[in-house]
Symmetry: C2
Subunit: 350 residues, 2 copies
């Protein structure tokens, strides 16, 4: 079905497959729909999977299809959930994802979020009852493309101990932010408030490698370099008590504020299945034109002077590696391991 070119030049190993971005997208849609996912959900998820593969965030590329299909087959996930939109106020739009994946809920809700923020300067998108596996940068970047700043956060499952403790309470609780830069890639960051992503500990376990001290404690609460012991124990937050405080804020703003689950409650809801976390998400949009009250040009100038002062001393802005990969992928396509490609193709039914 797909034109797959095995490249034999010096850029690639023989065991990789080269795909165009459209091929990644079409493959993703086919895998998901052939496993019973509704077409609108499949397309929304395929868009973020393609973006992940494009930016060489491999854990958010087509690898995720394996996880999605397992959830479709085994989990509580509703593959054809209809997102229900309600306007909570002139500043807040809520989308009940109905226990489907978050992406379609974000797509339909973010259009209204952007309209609201354009009109009154600040607005919030509340997503409730969604299964959430994707990075947050595609979402804040989509809002920044509309000329708005954006802040997004979600809880996950309770894997991370609070500062001063050794038992899991928090999720890995990502927080992402984007600031629009006319004619340039936005300023974007998207990081877990845990010291490291849970997937990185998993990768170390599979590779039989130790993890650094500071990532986790074991079940007895002792610092550990053993990834298996870490996964049974508790991960730690980044930045000590400050990172821990920030992680608690993510829980509160993207959980209880929205009447939705904390990571502890999401873990309970999972009932030991080990599925993708199910909870809420909060996205805020800020319109500089409204906030700056006539001084938006000054604001842009000050922001660019700050970026210049960072880059000018040889430091990097966040997300630059992703943007470099994006430029490459958009002209040359992406490389996927032949094994992964074969595993993904094997998911196609019918």
């Amino acid at each position: 079905m797909y034109i797959v070119s095995k490249i034999a030049d010096e850029e690639c190993n023989v065991d990789t497959v080269s795909l165009s971005l459209d091929e990644v997208y079409q493959l993703s849609v086919r895998v998901l729909t052939s496993n019973g996912m509704a077409d609108d959900h499949a397309r929304a998820i395929a868009r973020v999977i393609t973006a992940g593969q494009r930016d060489e965030c491999h854990s958010h590329g087509i690898y995720r299809l394996l996880v999605c299909v397992r959830s479709l087959r085994d989990g509580k996930l509703v593959g054809d959930a209809k997102p229900q939109i309600s306007e909570l106020s002139p500043a807040i739009v809520r989308v009940d994802a109905g226990f489907g994946y978050s992406q379609l809920a974000f797509e339909v809700g973010s259009k209204i979020l952007v309209e609201k923020a354009r009109k009154i300067g600040i607005a919030a998108l509340v997503i409730n009852n969604c299964f959430h596996f994707s990075a947050l940068w595609p979402e804040v970047e989509a809002i920044a493309e509309q000329g708005l700043a954006a802040l997004a956060m979600t809880p996950s499952h309770s894997w991370v101990a609070p500062a001063g403790g050794t038992k899991p309470v928090f999720g890995t609780n990502p927080i992402a932010f984007a600031w629009p830069r006319p004619g340039k890639f936005p300023f974007v960051f998207d990081f877990a408030t845990s010291a490291i992503a849970r997937g990185d500990i998993e990768l170390h376990r599979r590779a039989g490698k130790d993890i650094p001290l500071g990532w986790a404690v074991d079940e007895a609460g002792q610092p550990t370099t053993n990834p298996a012991a870490a996964l049974k124990g508790a991960m730690l937050t980044f930045g000590g008590h400050k990172g821990s405080a920030l992680s608690a804020m993510v829980e509160l703003l993207a959980g209880p504020l929205l009447g939705d689950l904390t990571s502890l409650e999401s873990q309970k809801f999972d009932e030991g299945v080990g599925a993708t976390p199910c909870h809420g998400e909060l996205v805020l949009a800020f319109n500089p034109e409204t906030f700056a009250a006539g001084k938006q040009a000054d604001g842009e100038r000050f922001a660019e002077a700050m970026f210049d002062a960072i880059v000018g001393q040889g430091a990097r802005l966040p997300s630059q590696r992703r943007f470099e990969a994006r430029v490459r992928s958009e002209t040359k396509g992406v490389q996927v391991s032949a094994q992964l490609y074969s595993d993904v193709q094997a998911l196609i039914r019918g």
Copy 2:
């Protein structure tokens, strides 16, 4: 004028002075007004100084009167600025502080902020052109007392290097958050995104003590334990590249978004005087009743279960030391060093 009791019991050294909270407040008002500050500004500042002394945040207690009076006598500060309120939208109120201190601008603006957030669920307070020296916790706590969650941030002066760099770009850029807990002290944090407060490096310098590695680099960009070299070089952010990204977000949301200065620009505005930074501030308020759409009770229950899981394992919530001090101070008053008390009294004119 003030009833000062020298306590001689075992709780105090002979060189401290015991003051009631009202005495702290009255002393603060008198010092400020006798140095030409308008009465409304003096009372607003005296309230936060009293709160700082009460919570045993000594660097934000009556010690600050020394700094305020110096700024009144020498700086660009306008001691009788009239805060100008404008409504930028149904969701945003702006207060132009007119190059006065921030506290009065916050007091007049936050009343409208709370009204707006009550009405449409989320609202923003923009303060422009303010001199800012106070902690942010009194502000987010004041909003949490109204049953709302609050998030506040400001830049400062460019003292802090970005991750991967060695030259100052960011301010110490505090970020503060409060979550209301019915019948209890709120969940509150207020931290600098620098590894440590600048005042702590200053205290080490005065005491002739080394600072730990990781706080700062010297002018040549080398890690240093010498506080004087650190103050001439650049401070570092907490939490590596994540703390650095967060610090950049504080700059953008509390500076350029508001058409106001970054820490780099605030430093330029200072023209080498070394005065209190002058810039903007952003405060957001969130109404759980609106956001939770009928599930506020669930949200409160999930939040309290999370706090129980933290405290139940022997970890502490942020701000507990302050709250313990507050309970003490409200019954027993506060202890101030006799030297500081004498220095502060000497500021009174006329």
